[in-house]
């Protein structure tokens, strides 16, 4: 029997993404953010997570997707990294899915640009593709402003 993986899923500009559930610390609703001048534009701000200050990365910007409409408030997917928790800003939260690992296929070589590094590949689900996000690469942003 092939192993099954659990993925925490979310939506970004109509695309369906997922990260492995053990990397996710929590998922919470929109939190007020303090912007950080001079930081890379992918970093949208800092949130107060029960007394801990956590940086929030705008995934739309990171993946070079369209900007979020101003009346839409993002949700926070807080992931664990080596330097502590970091929040990923997403449009909507999906379910936690159990996926057969055989359904995974790596990104095609023709995939260019930012997505190349950030998306490990896709799971071929019945009616859609689940894009697997590489957390380590996603949070690895240079500190120079874009």
């Amino acid at each position: 029997m092939s192993a099954s993986l659990q993925y925490c899923t979310f939506f970004l500009d109509g695309l369906f993404f997922g990260v492995e559930v053990q990397n996710v610390q929590e998922v919470i609703c929109y939190q007020e953010m303090t912007r950080i001048p001079l930081a890379s534009r992918a970093v949208q701000g800092l949130i107060n997570l029960r007394g801990q200050i956590v940086a929030a990365i705008d995934l739309r910007h990171r993946l070079e997707l369209r900007s979020r409409p101003t009346d839409q408030y993002p949700m926070n997917v807080v992931v664990r990294t080596e330097e502590g928790p970091i929040s990923l800003l997403v449009d909507e939260i999906g379910d936690v899915l159990e996926i057969d690992e055989n359904l995974f296929e790596r990104s095609p070589e023709t995939l260019k640009g930012v997505a190349r590094n950030l998306i490990r590949g896709a799971f071929k689900l019945k009616d859609q593709l689940l894009l697997a996000l590489d957390i380590e690469q996603t949070v690895n942003i240079s500190t120079h402003p874009n």
Binding site: T34, P37, L38, I47, N48, G51, I53, E83
Partner: protein
């Protein structure tokens, strides 16, 4: 078995402490070898260690300490006399014991080190007849005495390194030793002139730990203290939030209770911080031994003096600076202080002095390490940096001697001709700087060639909870650590326009006579101002201190002062130099903490000398070449073009030729009630295709010190903002150089030079600001 483990770990902790104490005792004893109490105490300590090792079954430890104990017992009883060889052997014994203890700690076993050599040495030293002068005088014949003298002299020759008190006392008693340190007995007058300029204070060699042995104290795991600190930090945050609510409450009982909570929290915070404070003497106490060993191996003589041992620092700071300080001390002995012969030749005392000083000032701990060695040779440093490709030849030429000092902080730098196991691998000073900066401190180095070097380290006292001023800018709140805050200035209405002056485009404010460079926070952060620039009816200037420089930060609004908990920024944001961290405000929102030095550097207020790395310096030099200059372009003749920096132009006038008069052999016009000399530029610069007399003259008026000069050009072309790539002038007087502006070759006028030709004394009485270096 766990009970035994507990006993063993207690044994280890106690023994480490005892060994540290023994190190200090032995080095002190060397200077005062007959001190019976000290000898007895050393003996007791070794005896204790021996006893416990025997009980715990560490036979190797036991045998080593047993021999040491025998040796010490003879010393204590006066049968033996302490000399450097014995001291070194005893110190080697300490090291061996430490080695075994470390092995016990990690593996539970003593390990299989071979200490036969050590044991043999210690045994030999017990039995070999040491030349004790008392015995010699009493028992031996003259011939034997001469022999004894000879042996002593050769021993002296071998061990002529550290101050040798035993040698001194024997010298005093008549041996014809040629000892320079003959004056330097432990009982010397504090102000004896043969000593270096630092008077030898007996206090410096006293052991502070000899007092307070019976104070009640308790050992606490450092992790527990850390946890306590964190909890107190959270409590402070919660208290801040409650205080926010009280401002909107009317219930007096609630208000008084929260006030009480406020007071208790503040006291608790202070007390917990104190638990983690340790005197810097804890680190310094190992230096006498380090210096002694190092001086011995380098064949130098170095004395160490300390002032401010009791200055307290937080434990984390102590941990962080332990290694850097050790490295600096080693550097001083290894590179700074010269060998005795060299020092004597220079007229210095053969013994070098290393002076450590620590004190609190302005919310910071200042640590100074001074040596009276050779200082740092700026040329050598530059050469080495060039050799290693750390700077370019261009940069090397621009550097002042003062700036050269900071080259030693570059990674990969070392002037040591040979790599010793002490220093010279070139990995030292940059690591020192990084470690100190990591805890928010600064390092500065000053030296006088031939006289000595001083390293100054400044570290903020408290890391976690600091008082801060909250300001607003662009609608957000920012916290400024109060330790950097000097004062607040508010300008209203007319003052805003009048009191902010521009010097070459840089806004400054006159604060009690001193010019204060101004920095607009919203510009530095590149955020928009919430109020329209034009409608500025009031300005808030926060006067800050960064390093030794002061500057004014212009912010939108000033809120309260608060105690905030500093939380570090994650790796994502660490590179942004203007922010030192973040904090959570009373209302739960996050605010960024400004790094005052970072803002000063970002705004270019602090000079390049203070920059943290030479690469930044190089970048700044590059930037200056790229700065935009505002120039007035004028034409001379049909094709010639000149440029004048706009800062030199007071007015542009069109003057009818008929108004030109002659006075004192010079062409002049009447201008605003003055006689203004005219300088015809086309004549001055020998333009061949000068335009024939025109009806009106285009005059560029330069005014300074109440006097004016008129420079006549043929026509005014434009005012441009451009970068300048200047080819310096070699031939024509009156021109600084040529550049390509608006695709035409243009000469840049040397206004000062031109005016000096006409009136040599013009600038002597001027207090005008120096022109821009182009």
């Amino acid at each position: 078995m766990s009970e035994l483990d507990g006993i063993i770990s207690e044994f280890l902790v106690e023994s480490y402490e005892n060994l540290d104490q023994l190190d200090r005792d032995l080095v002190t004893l060397e200077k005062d070898p007959r001190n019976p109490q000290r000898l007895a105490s050393i003996f007791r300590t070794i005896h204790t260690i021996k006893g416990t090792c025997g009980f715990l079954g560490f036979s190797k430890l036991e045998s080593v300490t047993h021999v040491g104990e025998n040796l010490l017992s003879r010393l204590r009883d006066g049968l033996l006399f302490l000399n450097p060889e014995i001291t070194s052997a005893l110190l080697a014994l300490m090291d061996a014991v430490r080695e075994m203890l470390t092995r016990i700690e990690s593996t539970g076993q003593e390990g299989d080190g071979n200490y036969a050599q050590l044991i043999a040495t210690l045994t030999r030293l017990q039995e070999a007849p040491q030349i004790l002068l008392a015995e010699v005088e009493e028992n031996l014949s003259l011939r034997d005495q001469a022999l004894a003298e000879q042996v002593q002299i050769s021993e002296m020759a071998d061990e002529s390194t550290v101050v040798n008190p035993s040698g001194l006392l024997q010298a005093d008693e008549g041996l014809p030793c040629n000892q320079q340190q003959a004056d330097l007995t432990p009982h010397a007058e504090p102000n004896s002139e043969s000593v270096t300029s630092f008077s030898q204070s007996p206090k410096a060699t006293q052991d502070t730990t000899s007092t307070g042995v019976c104070e009640s104290s308790i050992r606490v795991d450092v992790r527990l203290l850390d946890k306590l600190m964190n909890l107190v930090g959270e409590l402070v945050l919660a208290r801040n939030q409650i205080l926010q609510f009280t401002s909107s409450q009317k219930d007096t009982a609630f208000i008084s209770t929260s006030q009480r909570l406020n007071l208790i929290t503040t006291e608790l915070q202070e007390s917990v911080m104190k638990t983690r404070m340790q005197p810097i003497g804890n680190i310094w106490n190992r230096f006498p031994r380090v210096v002694r060993d190092l001086a011995t191996s380098c064949r130098k003589q170095v004395r160490i003096e300390m002032e401010g041992k009791e200055t307290e620092l937080d434990k984390t700071i102590i941990e962080a600076i332990k290694d850097p300080l050790t490295h600096i001390v080693r550097n001083s002995v290894d590179h700074g202080i010269e060998p005795p012969e060299v020092r004597l030749a220079k007229g210095k005392p053969a013994e070098g002095c290393l002076y450590l000083r620590a004190y609190h000032e302005g919310g910071q701990v200042n640590i100074e390490i001074t040596d009276d060695g050779a200082g740092i040779n700026a040329e050598n440093v530059k050469r080495k940096a060039l050799e290693r490709g750390l700077i370019t030849r261009d940069q090397a030429e621009r550097l002042s001697d003062r700036d050269c000092m900071h080259l030693i902080f570059l990674p990969g730098f070392s002037t040591a001709e040979s790599v010793t196991n002490v220093s010279g691998r070139g990995v030292g000073m940059d690591v020192v700087k990084t470690n100190i900066e990591r805890i928010g401190g600064t390092v500065d180095i000053q030296c006088q060639p031939g006289k000595g070097t001083t390293l100054k380290i400044k570290i903020p006292l408290t890391l976690a909870i600091i008082p801060a001023l909250i300001v607003t800018c662009g609608g957000d709140r920012y916290a400024i650590p109060q330790v950097s805050l000097l004062e607040l200035v508010r300008l209203e209405g007319d003052q805003v326009r009048q009191e902010i002056e521009l010097i070459h485009g840089v806004p400054v404010y006159r604060l009690r006579g001193n010019l204060l460079p101004l920095v607009y926070l919203n510009k530095e952060l590149q955020v928009e101002n919430h109020r329209h620039e034009c409608v500025v009816d009031a300005l808030n200037i926060v006067v800050l201190q960064a390093d030794d420089r002061q500057f004014g930060l212009i912010v939108e609004g000033i809120c309260d002062t608060e105690e905030i908990v500093v939380k570090p920024l994650g790796k994502l944001l660490k590179g942004i130099m203007v922010f030192a961290g973040a904090t959570i405000m009373g209302d739960g929102r996050v605010a960024l903490i400004l790094d005052v030095l970072g803002i000063a550097q970002h705004a270019g207020v602090v000079s390049e000398v203070r920059d943290r790395s030479l690469s930044e310096l190089a970048a700044k030099i590059q930037d200056r070449q790229n700065t935009i200059h505002t120039l007035l372009l004028a034409g001379l003749g049909l094709t010639g073009r000149i440029a004048i920096p706009l800062s030199f132009v007071a007015r542009l006038e069109e003057i009818p030729t008929s108004c030109v008069e002659v006075a004192d052999g010079q062409e002049v016009v009447q201008f605003r009630g003055q006689i203004m000399p005219l300088i015809r530029l086309s004549q001055l610069l020998q333009c061949n295709d000068a335009i024939a007399d025109q009806d009106k003259l285009q005059v560029v008026v330069y005014t300074a010190n109440g006097r004016s000069f008129g420079l006549v050009a043929d026509h005014i072309i434009d005012i441009v903002e451009t970068t300048l790539d200047l080819k310096p002038s070699t031939r024509q007087h009156g021109i600084l150089g040529s550049a390509i502006i608006q695709q035409r070759v243009t000469d840049l006028l040397d206004i000062q030079g031109i005016i000096r030709t006409f009136d040599p004394g013009f600038f002597d009485t001027c207090d005008v600001a120096a022109p821009n270096h182009v």
